[in-house]
């Protein structure tokens, strides 16, 4: 292998959205590692100004086709906070049920279609199906169960139409949920089989020390919660922007975030490691059987954590359906009131924060949205540095593949942060 040298590779694939990676090595040492995010900006925070306080759930859903419920939910939490309205508990349960559908669908998509091909040495799920047809069919059935759940509660799986500030336009009857429970019981078997399947993959060694940031609460955090972190002190949601700061770097159209000045990680690894005790017993047993401890610090094993979270989401959806009582009213009125509101929820990819300022006329005057992928960019770059440092003896194709895998470990949603990735490795 010559030194110095430059390697250029095409667009990064099997991620949501598009972008570029730039790695430079001098004498075998990674010198510059950048995740270049230059997908064209879409300016949501700008055009949310002047919109009615009822509109952000529909509008911000369009930031991401893979996790629209996350955007709808964080937006509603923030605006209901600003307006001082508390939503009925049965409506909150339905929100959580809808969100479980999004976790199941999004995680199944990532596990089977985007991530598993890395471990099986295949370019895509179609190629995987040639040798592992039953596994792929199981993954598709699991994904479909998540989508059907979203359609049942949200009316549509991509950009659900049944969601509104204060609740829903219409709410299902208990008997309408029954066939869904049947499908979810089958999905639970598929989810458990998924954990066992991915636990058998081979995982490169990597232990990361990023500070972990997630929500926590009475239950495993999904549709709301309070801040939990692995090192520093938790803080109220309203102080989010004092701790998680966004900066603009030249190589990115996404804003980089830091937590109290340091890189941090949000998403499945953080959520799991900070909330292990809140998992249901069936999810915890699956984790133990798959060899996971109470924490997971190896991003390559995030595929197992996602699979465990699918078990949890299916199990939790079944619990919610079992306990379901149709809300007396599908929504509560949320009259506009001048003020500021903050809202969070756990998108499949991690903590999603929204903040809105509402004027006396009920129109939004300012909006701030901090998506998980923007928060994770520094951690992803740090993982890349470690993977490159550990892999200097690999040939170019192998090293490039490891870099791509290090990125996919975090299921980056580049559409959320609005970005684009082309992979270049330069060795000098």
């Amino acid at each position: 292998m010559t030194d110095p040298r430059t390697i250029r590779v095409g667009a990064l694939t099997r991620v949501e959205g598009e972008g570029a990676l730039h790695v430079e090595l001098r004498n075998g040492v990674p010198e510059r590692v950048e995740l270049n995010i230059y997908e064209p900006p879409r300016f949501f925070e700008a055009f949310l100004r002047g919109r009615a306080h009822t509109e952000p759930p529909d509008i911000t859903a369009r930031i991401c086709g893979i996790c629209p419920v996350a955007y709808q939910t964080s937006a509603m939490n923030a605006i209901e906070d600003a307006c001082g309205v508390t939503v009925d508990p049965q409506v909150v349960a339905l929100r959580r049920l809808l969100y479980c559908g999004e976790w199941i669908h999004s995680h199944a998509l990532h596990i089977y279609m985007l991530h598993a091909p890395d471990f099986l040495g295949e370019p895509d799920v179609i190629a995987v199906a040639k040798h592992h047809r039953a596994a792929v069919e199981r993954g598709l059935a699991l994904k479909k169960a998540g989508n059907r759940l979203m359609e049942l509660v949200g009316g549509r799986s991509i950009h659900p139409i049944n969601v509104r500030l204060g609740g829903f336009y219409s709410v299902p009857t208990k008997s309408e949920l029954k066939p869904m429970a049947e499908q979810l019981r089958a999905a639970l078997d598929d989810a458990l089989a998924t954990v066992a399947w991915v636990a058998g993959f081979e995982f490169p060694d990597l232990t990361v020390d990023h500070e972990l940031l997630a929500l926590t609460g009475e239950r495993y955090p999904i549709e709301d919660g309070r801040i939990a972190r692995s090192a520093g002190n938790p803080f109220p949601i309203a102080e989010f922007s004092d701790h998680v700061r966004e900066t603009h770097v030249p190589h990115s159209t996404a804003l980089h975030s830091t937590l109290d000045g340091e890189r941090h990680l949000t998403g499945p690894l953080a959520r799991y490691s900070l909330n292990y005790a809140l998992l249901s017993s069936v999810a915890r047993e699956a984790a133990t059987a798959a060899g996971l401890g109470e924490q997971c610090r190896n991003p390559f094993r995030s595929i197992i954590v996602r699979a465990v979270e699918v078990v949890y989401a299916v199990d939790e959806a079944l619990r919610i359906i079992d306990d379901y009582e149709r809300p007396a009213r599908p929504f509560v009125d949320v009259p506009a009131r001048a003020g500021v509101g903050h809202g969070v929820s756990e998108a499949p990819r991690g903590l999603l924060y929204h903040r809105y300022e509402i004027g006396a006329d009920g129109l939004i005057t300012a909006a701030v949205i901090v998506p998980p992928t923007a928060q994770n960019q520094a951690a992803i770059e740090d993982d890349l540095t470690r993977v490159v440092a550990a892999g200097v003896d690999l040939d170019d194709a192998e090293l490039t593949s490891m870099c791509e895998r290090a990125i996919r470990n975090h299921d980056p949603c580049i559409s959320c942060a609005t970005h684009f990735l082309t992979l270049t490795v330069e060795r000098r």
Partner: protein, 252 residues
């Protein structure tokens, strides 16, 4: 085997995700079609030409103006999928604003950002053979379109209204029965009347139908409780360019 390519421009990825959401059909489809380029789903990227290209997203940068032309040259049939590709999407709100001001609101360093002042549909740059409407597109319409192209017939994409879908499905009219403001009379069919089925007025995410009667609808929206600014906003969202053009044509 015919080849299929899937391309992304400025978008949320939801319309291309619709292809991966065809859980029951995906493996069968892959036996009939060579998925040659689909960056979100595969690391195997094959060069053109392609029999069919699905284009998601709107054109918002100088390099994307070039890219859409290259894709057109490489594609036998080009299908624009979703409101971004057929109308510029919600990000076309910039077309009616100052994009430099927008940039300064979102980014600390506007000098790092390279973007066009407008967000435009594929058809503003190249010839588009078919357009699937919607934010997002409808899964059944996507499957029907791919099946049609495979057997060599024209896709069924009727330019009817959402109202016709309600009537066919036997959904009670939310406007007539309950006085809920609804854009169904002027909105392009394709969703299957999802919102009225859920006790919600249509909010126009499939854009205007071929000959929408805007002047007849707008007084009804006012009657059913929408203020002037509310009417403006509901039309100026996911298909802002097309609805604005229709309203300007009628000076309503």
């Amino acid at each position: 085997m015919p080849s299929l390519a899937v391309w992304k421009f400025a978008s949320c990825d939801g319309c291309q995700l619709t292809l991966l959401d065809c859980e029951d059909e995906l493996l069968t489809l892959a036996e009939q079609v060579q998925i040659a380029t689909f960056a979100e789903a595969s690391s195997a990227v094959m060069g053109g030409p392609y029999d069919v290209s699905l284009v998601e997203g709107s054109v918002t940068t100088p390099s994307d103006v070039r890219r859409i032309r290259e894709i057109r040259e490489q594609s036998g049939v080009l299908v624009a999928i979703g409101a971004c590709a057929t109308a510029g999407g919600i990000q076309a709100l910039r077309n009616f604003a100052d994009v430099a001001e927008f940039t300064s609101v979102v980014y600390a360093r506007p000098d790092y950002i390279h973007t066009l002042a407008t967000s435009t549909p594929a058809s503003a740059h190249v010839t588009v053979d078919y357009e699937l409407r919607g934010c997002p597109i409808d899964r059944r319409q996507l499957l029907d379109t791919l099946a049609a192209l495979l057997v060599g017939r024209k896709p069924r994409l009727p330019a009817a209204t959402v109202c016709t879908e309600c009537k066919r499905a036997g959904v009670t009219c939310v406007t007539v029965a309950e006085g809920i403001a609804c854009l169904g009379p002027v909105t392009h069919a394709g969703c299957g009347a999802l919102c009225p089925r859920h006790h919600r007025g249509c909010y126009g995410c499939f854009g205007p139908t071929a000959t929408p009667n805007m002047p007849a609808l707008i007084p009804l929206l006012h009657r059913d409780g929408m203020s002037g600014p509310e009417v403006d906003r509901v039309f100026e969202t996911f298909n802002v360019t097309q609805f604005s053009a229709e309203r300007n044509a009628h000076h309503d």
